[in-house]
């Protein structure tokens, strides 16, 4: 039952979430852009997201291959396809999921023109990296002598958490804004394995034909919130309490800036989730460490000695390769995201009597480039985006992006934001070219949300 509740929580979160939000970044002055860069000059006096619907986003990606690569109905045999995929995959392919469900997002402009925003969202973040050596060992076997099958690149991290945040965007100069956001993380469940090391290999032996090695094995799996005490009733109220500061707590910071060196040019940058979670509750970690070599069984042909070869080997193995269960506190750094952009605006500058005098009025066209990087012990990756944004009066904005990332070098994204009075609705997706054949998509990134924005352009 416990596992079912945890699994359900993971799955519920999984179907509503995102990662590199290249379309959303700096798009249409949506309140959600403040979560990507707290310095954004949000164009409004007050906003409130519709609870539970202000941002629903999903990112899922696998850098290795697509379903179509494997399952295409063509004249190529399935085993040939598997061989082609095997030969094409790189040294460390990875799979990633990220989800965020925003439950609260409110912001208001203070009398000094600072914009303060705060809220709460639920996030699931999963990243797992598959070392090529492990795939080689499965696919090719171990018959190549002295070939070392390393576990060094075996790494994965999964985290289900709630995040409460408060941020401020402030104009600090005529052309410059800075912003910051503080986050409190409440981790419901976490599992991570990083910095693994060691190798398995076979070499020519002296006592026997071959000697097989487990060399300097050091594997560590850290978990929290997975193994629970028997007196804990894993029900909805327990999970809710874990999301709302009852879990393992952490602290994070976002920083950002915008700078306009000229009227039509803008440079922005931000760093998100510069923080950590310290795990003290329901912690259980497992470590396997040691070295072992095996020459086989040496039979002594002594009829007076009982057969203890296998138990002797097992005992020797367990003595040299030690598995420990550890209940010690530990800390994980959050995956930090970096964003940077350069934009050039042009076209008819829309003036409005209601526009705040000290605010920058937007142009109708905007082009630019956006760089994104996710930095993490498990795996870091990078994405580059070119974009074009178009405004249509007060009510309608669109954005088209072209992104190269580890999943695709031709990822075309599209976003729409519309307003009717104070009501705002937006929808964003990427990988539009993948719509030609959905099975061939290696990643998808979607956001959808609704807000009420007051005092906007």
């Amino acid at each position: 039952m416990r596992k079912l509740v945890i699994l359900s929580s993971f799955l519920c979160s999984f179907f509503i979430s995102a990662q590199n939000k290249q379309v959303l970044y700096d798009f249409a002055e949506l309140p959600q852009t403040l979560l990507l860069n707290p310095a954004v000059d949000f164009q409004g006096k007050f906003h409130i997201g519709i609870p539970g619907l202000s941002q629903i986003s999903l990112h899922a990606g696998f850098s290795g291959f697509s379903a179509y690569d494997l399952l295409a109905d063509n004249n190529v045999g399935i085993n040939d396809k598997i061989r082609d995929i095997y030969q094409s995959i790189g040294k460390s392919e990875f799979v990633s999921f990220n989800q965020q469900l925003e439950l609260l997002n409110i912001g208001y402009r203070r009398s000094n023109n600072d914009y303060v925003s705060f809220g709460y969202y639920q996030e699931l973040d999963v990243l797992a990296k598959f070392p090529k050596d492990m795939i080689d060992l499965y696919y090719e076997g171990n018959t190549v002598l002295n070939r070392r099958y390393s576990v060094d690149k075996l790494a994965a991290q999964a985290e289900l958490l709630g995040v409460f945040h408060v941020g401020i965007s402030r104009k600090v100069g005529e052309f410059t804004r800075f912003g910051g956001r503080i986050k409190i993380y409440s981790s419901v469940a976490s599992a991570s394995t990083k910095r693994n090391s060691g190798a398995f290999y076979t070499e020519n032996g002296s006592d026997n034909i071959y000697r097989q090695h487990l060399s300097n094995i050091d594997l560590l799996l850290e978990t929290s919130g997975v193994q629970l005490p028997s007196d804990v009733e894993l029900d909805q109220s327990y999970v809710q309490s874990q999301f709302l500061f009852g879990g393992n707590l952490g602290l994070g910071l976002d920083f950002g800036f915008t700078y306009q060196p000229e009227d039509q040019w803008e440079i922005t940058g931000s760093i998100q989730d510069l923080g950590f979670i310290y795990y003290t509750k329901n912690v259980e970690s497992y470590r396997i460490k040691g070295s072992y070599h095996l020459d086989g069984f040496q039979l002594d042909f002594d009829p007076n000695t009982p057969d203890t070869y296998w138990s002797d080997l097992k005992d020797d193995f367990e003595e040299r390769i030690v598995m420990d269960t550890i209940q010690a506190n530990y800390m994980n750094f959050r995956p930090t995201k970096l964003n940077g952009s350069l934009t050039y605006s042009f076209g008819r500058k829309r003036l409005d009597d209601c526009t705040f005098a000290n605010r920058v009025t937007p142009y109708t066209h905007k082009v630019g480039a956006h760089l994104f990087s996710r930095l993490n012990v498990v795996h870091s990756y990078f994405a580059a985006t070119l974009f074009y944004e178009r405004r249509f009066g007060k009510t309608f904005s669109t954005k088209v992006t072209y992104t190269a990332d580890p999943f695709s070098y031709a990822n075309v994204g599209f976003g729409i934001s519309a307003r009717a009075g104070a009501f705002n609705i937006y929808a964003i997706t990427d990988n539009l070219l993948g719509l030609r054949n959905v099975y061939n998509m290696q990643s998808i990134n979607m956001q959808f949300g609704m807000n009420f924005i007051f005092g906007a352009y």
Partner: protein
């Protein structure tokens, strides 16, 4: 205005409505098959003269030993065949016959690897390769003990083995297991 919101909405609707899929065939997964092989070090021994003599220093014509092995049921039915490689070196002036034997949980002999290995007298390192073919591979899953039996041939010259002889019989071995992973 060349591009207006209505046109964009139609375009997006068009994209969403006409997103398509090329045909895929899930059934082909049933034909997935992967052939691979794994190498394992096995038994080694180094026997000198006293091992072939009893308490009265009389020659023991047949000597044997066995080792219990791990349960391999999880490999069923993927294991296709097993290839044993045996290296021998014999400085005794007597031939040996070596049998590789498989026993069940009651230590009852259920299979003997064929052919038996004849190790000539005064032979330096020889390599012997024996195989459990696919037709007999089920024996692996019924095996609880794996053993070797060594038969000392009679002397053709009347010589007997003395406890002080420095003869040596050396054996090294490995097994290569061939798998075919597929839908069971």
């Amino acid at each position: 205005m060349i591009i207006n919101p209505k046109k964009i909405s139609y375009f997006v609707l068009f994209l969403l409505c006409f997103s398509c899929t090329k045909p895929i065939d899930m059934d082909q997964l049933d034909d997935t098959s992967l052939d691979t092989s794994y190498l394992f070090t096995l038994i080694h021994l180094n026997l000198n003269a006293p091992k072939f003599l009893d308490d009265l220093n009389q020659e023991i014509p047949v000597t044997s030993d066995m080792v219990s092995i791990a349960n391999l049921d999880d490999l069923y039915p993927y294991l296709k065949r097993a290839e044993f490689k045996v290296n021998t070196a014999n400085s005794f002036n007597r031939n040996f016959t070596l049998n590789i034997l498989f026993y069940d949980k009651d230590q009852k002999l259920i299979y003997t690897l064929k052919p038996a290995i004849i190790v000539p007298a005064n032979s330096s390192e020889l390599t012997h390769v024996l195989e459990i073919p696919e037709s007999d591979i089920d024996v692996i899953f019924n095996t609880q003990y794996f053993g070797m039996e060594m038969s000392l041939w009679n002397s053709t010259t009347g010589d007997v083995i003395e406890v002080t002889d420095d003869y040596e019989f050396v054996l090294k071995s490995s097994v290569k297991l061939y798998f075919n992973f597929r839908k069971a």
